[in-house]
């Protein structure tokens, strides 16, 4: 076991670092040659659909999964072969994994108890953590007597009591109902702001990732698709996968022909024959591409409006109060449109759609953004 400090941890230094890690289960490669750095004090979300390897990645950092090849560093120390308990990290499980036969106090103090800390210290620390998480009234209850949100807080408390270098969260909110999830999301964000400890958070819910994280790592089939801040991912997706995964409702895609690319502008011929100009950075020589446009960047106009890119028939309307979602059948397929809350449209009505071309993106045949 090599334990040589590579660098001292100042604020900007990578706190958790994976270097070219690979994870294979027999013949199946779950993660292949992946490198990732998590800055000290950051809240990093690992986001992706189920089976993309995000939990495996987290479990490799935790030490619950052996790394097939590559290295894992925590605070500059190679922990690749270290047992989980020595890595000075704490993990919150999706199922909370609260010991059912122990009280909240015992659950929180379990790590101190197995380390042989005196009872007095255990009690003090459990109380201290319970105070932060507002669990004091429940210290002598068992997990079965707690609500979902309280159990979640106990699970966090159990991580907190160890004063870890970093917290690992494995889809911690997925067992909660929608309302509680929003509340716990806020509490987690507050906890991160108060503690300033590095947090790595696995989720398949892009809203959670967008709202909580300062950095999102989008994973697809064991490979990093893109790393960036929530708005970077939203506004400048590196590829079609990220564009489709981030944002709700999802981005609309349809095939277009490229008439010409000059400099940073591509002239695109829409299926109806209209041409629009879309900003690009690469893609010289491409003849066709997919155009991606977010629902809020399509505007409902009169079908005879000369600015309308397409005309289409409204199939379904969803009124969400603050916004209205329209599913519109157009010559390029079904498009999802997000409009104002008081948008007056009727099902079956023919409408025109204007495209906000400044926000549209072109994706090449490989899926990469042009």
């Amino acid at each position: 076991m090599s334990a040589a400090p590579v660098e001292t941890g100042d604020a900007a230094a990578p706190h958790v670092e994976l270097r070219r890690v690979t994870k294979r289960y027999g013949p199946v490669t779950a993660i292949s040659d992946l490198s990732l750095t998590v800055d000290k004090g950051s809240f990093t979300a690992l986001l992706g659909p189920s089976g993309c390897g995000k939990s495996t990645l987290l479990r490799m950092i935790a030490g619950l999964e052996a790394i097939t090849a590559g290295q894992c560093f925590i605070d500059g120390v190679d922990v690749s072969d270290m047992p989980p308990a020595q890595r000075r990290i704490a993990m919150v499980f999706q199922s909370y994994a609260l010991y059912p036969h122990m009280t909240v106090r015992q659950n929180i103090a379990f790590s101190l108890s197995v380390a042989g800390q005196p009872k007095k210290v255990q009690n003090e620390r459990a109380l201290e953590v319970a105070r932060i998480l507002q669990l004091e009234p429940f210290l002598d209850r068992r997990p079965a007597e707690l609500s979902g949100g309280q159990r979640q807080r106990v699970a966090i408390g159990r991580a907190l009591v160890r004063k870890p270098e970093a917290f690992l969260f494995d889809e911690p909110l997925s067992n909660l109902d929608a309302k509680l999830r929003v509340q716990m999301r806020f509490e987690l964000a507050k906890l991160h702001a108060d503690l300033g400890t590095t947090m790595v958070y696995v989720t398949h819910d892009q809203t959670e990732a967008m709202t909580l994280a300062d950095k999102i790592v989008v994973l697809d089939k064991g490979v990093i698709s893109q790393v960036g801040s929530p708005l970077e991912l939203y506004n400048a997706p590196a590829n079609k996968f990220v564009a489709a995964f981030i944002g709700s409702p999802s981005m609309n895609f349809f095939g277009v022909d490229i008439a010409a690319i000059s400099g940073r502008t591509a002239t695109v011929v829409l299926p109806g024959g209209r041409t629009v100009e879309i900003g690009v950075t690469t893609g010289a020589g491409a003849r066709s591409a997919e155009l991606g446009v977010r629902p809020e960047h399509l505007t409902v106009v009169d079908p005879r409006d000369p600015a309308a890119a397409f005309a289409g028939k409204v199939a379904i309307i969803e009124h969400l109060g603050s916004s209205t979602i329209l599913y519109v059948e157009t010559p390029v397929g079904q498009l999802v449109v997000e409009g104002e809350g008081d948008l007056a449209a009727k099902s079956g009505e023919t409408i025109g759609l204007r495209l906000n071309q400044n926000h549209a993106r072109l994706f090449g045949v490989t899926g990469a953004t042009l």
């Binding site: 308990a85 499980f93 999706q94 994994a97 010991y99």
Partner: protein, 296 residues
């Protein structure tokens, strides 16, 4: 209006039908209750007969005919057994050996079950097969081997010799293994992250989480060890080292078999087991169902 009347009619009809079906169910219930009651009486009669006999003087026991109640009530048989025999010592021997068997079997089986269920070590699968295979061999078939083994260990005529062969308890290991298998992996991982060792995992997470099964297995192991006759009978010939079950065979005098005294010592021998059963009824039933499920 007509519609509402017909609805009322309909509901009255359904009500009557339901009542009729209830009555039918009740009748079936009555028949079953009577049948089970008869069965219970039939089953309990020997117990009653035995108990009543202990309160009869010996001459009344051997008198022809059936007397359901002692003509002359006496505690003389119990007096004899308690004062003239070594029953106190036999009780203590039974307690020591059954207690030791219970503690050692539960600890060993829990540890073995945990290792096979949770740890990764070479030949784990073979160990598991060996335990399953050993469970196919009836213990009485090995009794000669056990005797020779114990005599080579110089443990014949010792309490340790009585305990030794009773420690083979594959069923207990199998039950523990299956219960530990069903503990979600997250508990283990959370405890590992918290720095728990394998021993702490077993004794602070896995065993307490399956506390019910441990008590059930302990009780059934204790009852089994207490009731065991053949092996303690073979392993010990000194009266001072006998278990209560073996001790029963020692209660005769120059006049030969004394039924009332024999039954009195049998009643005393059965008393602790009966008490354990009455106190832990639910757990015992659970344990029997578990082991029956596996033996099934």
């Amino acid at each position: 209006m007509t519609a509402s009347v017909s609805t009322a009619d309909l509901s009255a009809q359904t009500g009557a039908r339901r009542l009729a079906s209830l009555r039918r169910v009740d009748l079936a219930g009555l028949v079953i209750t009577v049948a089970t009651l008869l069965g219970a009486i039939f089953w309990a009669f020997p117990l009653y007969w035995g108990l009543v006999t202990t309160f009869k003087p010996e001459y009344e026991v051997v008198r022809p005919g059936v007397a359901l109640w002692p003509a002359h009530f006496t505690l003389e048989n119990y007096g004899h057994v308690l004062l003239e025999t070594k029953i106190g010592l036999w009780y203590i021997n039974s307690l020591i050996t059954s207690g030791a068997v219970t503690v050692i079997v539960v600890m060993m089986a829990a540890s073995a079950g945990y290792a096979i269920s949770q740890l990764d070590f070479p030949f784990r699968r073979y160990f598991w097969w060996m335990i399953l295979a050993s469970f196919m061999v009836p213990i009485p078939a090995l009794i000669v081997n056990h005797f020779i083994l114990m005599s080579q260990f110089r443990l014949i005529n010792t309490l340790a010799g009585v305990v030794g062969p009773q420690l083979i308890a594959p069923v207990t290991v199998i039950i523990y293994k299956q219960f530990f298998d069903s503990v979600p992996k997250d508990f283990r991982e959370a405890a590992v992250m918290d720095g728990a060792s394998e021993f702490q995992l077993l004794f602070r997470i896995y065993l307490p989480m399956n506390w019910g099964i441990t008590t059930a297995l302990a009780i059934i192991t204790f009852i089994g060890a207490w009731n065991l006759f053949l092996w303690p009978f073979l392993a010990v010939s000194s009266e001072d080292l006998m278990n209560i079950t073996v001790g029963i065979t020692q209660v005769h005098d120059a006049f030969g078999v004394q039924y009332a005294r024999d039954l009195a010592v049998a009643m005393l021998a059965a008393l602790p087991v009966a008490l354990v059963y009455l106190i832990f009824q639910r757990r015992v039933t659970q344990a029997i169902m578990l082991s029956a499920g596996i033996k099934g």
